[in-house]
């Protein structure tokens, strides 16, 4: 009962906000077109500037860093999946490779790696003599043990699919084998991996916490004692078991050998309950001295920024994610590229950002997000600029007329009511479409997207699993990722818009088969130009931007987020 009520209330609030946005955008539309006709690149009129301090200085040991998180699903790498679980797992364990905040892959336990010509066989040379927290030496067998522990059928791990390129994955995951046949650990200092699906980006995947090494003490995956107090090889170790719903204590591992030791004596992670109020509690905790680091509730970005930017305790960064509109690209009315571009150009992203988000988001003008320094093409989506006149013209050419019906669905409960309502009103106002706008549970929306008769647009977002632009292109736009060849069967993959372009597919395949990183990035850029620039297969809305505040009077090297949007615990030291 109360659930339906709150949904209704939120929808009502959304409509109210949408009308605000509408009035804002009618004011702005004039200035917008003026600037466009004047030519030249106009600066985005919305979005918070990026602020971070990545200068690393040397510190001295000491201090206890405190922060709040919500209860993770798991901190044992066999099932760690969301940012909170990965925060703990990533500092308890060190894998073969490590992803920098800028999305670069650098050596960790692996000193170096190489592959054969077609990237089907990989050799990782390991640093020798590094240790687990219990003193056991980290060898290639530790990695084989860890990987098999994730993939084994009995583990039923949510993250096992990350290993699906490796030879023997299907057998181990299906329960017909008890080892990963493609992983060879016969030399303790060398890990050899054979891939059934060759990829020149395999080394990037190994930075995921699922690929962590495991000591003998780990045993099978379902092992409550180890799950709550994992023994890893990372810069920090557990100080007592995970106290569920209360907290997790970490202390520095003094025999850490894979990289420089951490400075912090300890990390105190308080578990806050209630996803919706956690951010508020984090910020309250930072303000009253209980925490040293906090996320910011959206309605307090402005005041928090004013307070903490002045003391260099403010972080604002575009990261590896995007909000977009999924388009059913094979069904009318959106099967025509002109219709897709018309819809995109009829949306005033800046007005929505200012009206709904208080200016705290960045309008997306590409699909591969700004976190990827080299692959980022900020203007690849020329149809992401607001241009109602051009939109009308394109709509006319595509046969979208006054009263053409367009389905637009979003999921309730994720805070998407307001901005989607604004999009609906803009489409009605600027193109005269009849928008069938509906909010449903996420799982229902997903099912609707999968159906062969799915039409129109859906709100969706996407985040990176691995630091490669391919992770934003292949799963969402490739023919293979539709998950079926049959137009009358449900699309079970992530490409539920069913966009398919052989030219794009070839470029992405070529990229994963290219060893040289710069060349590969270039191929991805070309692929994005086709899927977004030419075909606009999905409509980019906002780039993921994250904000943090921290206690800069007390802590140094804390002015940026790691790849998982967490504090860089291995570098922070007390001033």
């Amino acid at each position: 009962m109360s659930r339906t009520k709150s949904v209704l209330l939120r929808a009502a609030a959304g409509l109210a906000a949408a009308s605000l946005v509408l009035s804002a955008c009618s004011q702005q539309s004039n200035t917008g077109t003026d600037e466009d006709s004047g030519g030249g690149d106009n600066k985005p009129s919305s979005g918070y500037p990026e602020v971070e301090n990545t200068d690393i200085s040397e510190g001295k040991p000491g201090g206890t860093f405190r922060l709040g998180i919500v209860e993770p699903v798991a901190i044992d790498p066999y099932n760690a999946q969301e940012s909170e679980g990965i925060l703990v797992a990533a500092y308890l364990f060190t894998g073969l490779t490590h992803t920098t905040p800028d999305g670069e892959t650098e050596p960790a336990v692996a000193e170096s790696w190489e592959s054969n010509e077609d990237c089907s066989e990989w050799t990782f040379n390991l640093k020798t003599g590094t240790k687990f927290h219990d003193g056991e030496e980290v060898t290639s067998a530790s990695f084989k043990r860890g990987w098999e522990r994730v993939v084994a059928k009995a583990s039923a791990s949510d993250v096992a699919y990350h290993f699906d390129q490796i030879e023997g994955y299907e057998e181990l995951n299906g329960g017909t084998a008890n080892a990963l046949s493609g992983v060879d650990a016969s030399d303790p200092a060398v890990l050899k991996v054979k891939l059934a699906k060759p990829s020149c980006e395999f080394y990037i995947r190994t930075a995921h916490t699922a690929f962590s090494p495991m000591p003998k003490a780990a045993g099978a995956a379902q092992n409550q004692k180890f799950n709550d107090q994992p023994i890893g090889n990372g810069p920090f170790m557990m100080d007592g078991p995970w106290q569920h719903d209360a907290g997790i204590k970490l202390k520095r591992f003094d025999d850490y050998g894979a990289a420089d030791k951490a400075y912090l004596d300890a990390v105190e992670i308080t578990i806050l309950v209630g996803d919706e109020t956690a951010q508020q509690k984090e910020l309250d905790g930072l303000n009253n001295g209980q925490f040293d680091w906090a996320r910011i509730p959206p309605n307090q970005l402005k005041t928090t920024r004013e307070k903490y930017e002045a003391q260099d305790g403010w972080i604002s960064k575009k990261t590896f994610g995007i909000d977009f509109l999924l388009v059913a690209a094979t069904k009318a009315p959106m099967d025509d590229v002109k219709a897709r571009k018309a819809v995109s150009m009829a949306i005033d992203r800046d007005a929505i950002i200012n009206g709904v988000f208080d200016g705290s988001r960045a309008p997306a003008t590409s699909f591969v997000p700004g976190g990827f320094k080299d692959a980022y093409q900020p203007d690849v989506c020329d149809a992401c600029k607001y241009d109602p006149e051009k939109a009308k013209q394109l709509a006319k050419e595509a046969g979208l007329t006054e009263g053409t019906e367009l389905n637009f669905q979003f999921n309730t409960g994720g805070g998407h009511e307001e901005w989607t309502a604004a999009v609906k009103q803009q489409l009605e106002k600027n193109l005269g479409l009849k928008v069938n706008y509906s909010g449903v549970e996420f799982s229902d929306m997903l099912e609707n997207q999968q159906q062969p008769n799915s039409t129109g647009i859906y709100r969706l977002s996407w985040g990176a699993d691995y630091a490669t632009p391919g992770n934003f292109l292949q799963p969402l736009f490739s023919t293979e990722a539709i998950g079926t060849d049959d137009p009358n069967a449900p699309a079970l993959g992530d490409n539920r818009g069913r966009y398919s372009n052989p030219e794009f597919d070839d470029l992405v395949d070529e990229a994963t088969a290219t060893k040289d990183e710069a060349e590969r990035t270039d191929l991805y850029r070309q692929a994005e130009k086709i899927a977004i620039g030419d075909d606009l297969a999905n409509i980019p809305m906002f780039e993921r931007q994250q904000f943090r505040a921290f206690d800069s009077k007390k802590w140094a090297n804390a002015g940026f987020m790691d790849f998982h949007e967490n504090p860089p615990l291995n570098l922070i030291y007390q001033k």
Binding site: S157, A160, G174, H244, D245, T270, S443
Partner: protein, 310 residues
Amino acid sequence: MGKFITRRLAHAVLVIVAATFLIYLGLFAIGDPFASSGEKTVPPEIQEALREKFGMDQPFFVQYLTYLQNMFTFDFGVDFEQRRDVADMLANAVPATARLALFAIAIEIIIGLTAGIIAAVSQYTFRDVLITVITTLGIGIPVFVVGIGLRAGLSGEWIFPAVPRSFTIEVPWYQEVILPAITLAIIDAAFIARLMRGSMLEVMRADYVRTARAKGLSERKVIGKHALRNSIIPVVTYTGVSLGVLLGGALITETIFEYQGVGYLLVRAISQQNAPVIVPIVVFAVLTFVALSTLVDILYAYLDPRIRLH
């Protein structure tokens, strides 16, 4: 008396079987807990492995009977989210909720009875009016207002632990329990006071009380021995029901104070659609409720000889 108890117990078993079946049907059989629910599709082989791990690849009745069978050995399986032993989670939460419930009941009985008796004995005096006004307010204020107010005003002050707690600061259980217990007790104490006042006034007009007075017994004996015993019956019923409700978990109050009891566990389990945690908690709530109302019936029989005779 023996027959009476047997019949009540038979009812209780029926209620439990019906409750588990309905709850199980609702939570496990409808909807697939392992279908994709995030931005990324869960690969089919992963979904299949999950279903098999949690025994959900079996036909519904096999699942249900296995579940029922395991339940009698206190094996509730592992939860969907963190895969912890549900029996362990309950073993931590149940004593916390029991402490809270007993504490709250003790407070409300002491305050409620005292206030009710004073009001009845001094009917229509200033004391009576004052108590009536206060209790009306007490009944009228929603529990979340009391809870949030107390939390905002007192958390971190004096002996009350801060909410949310910093987990490295150990707090003795009685400190932790005191604010949520007061929150729960305020409304019930007000209700008990009114109940007590009304029923006491009624009893004091009864013939046997007049007889007792006529016999020349002291006022103290008339009220303490004769009137009190009879007028307390509605309070016993109410307290029994109230205890039953509280033992099933005080959802709102426990959540406001982040008190690690059954109610809070249930709230979180519901938001995660974590059926293996929800089912035993609801069954436990039904069970305590049934047990307590049975107990109350038996207490009646003790307090009122007329019931005993039936």
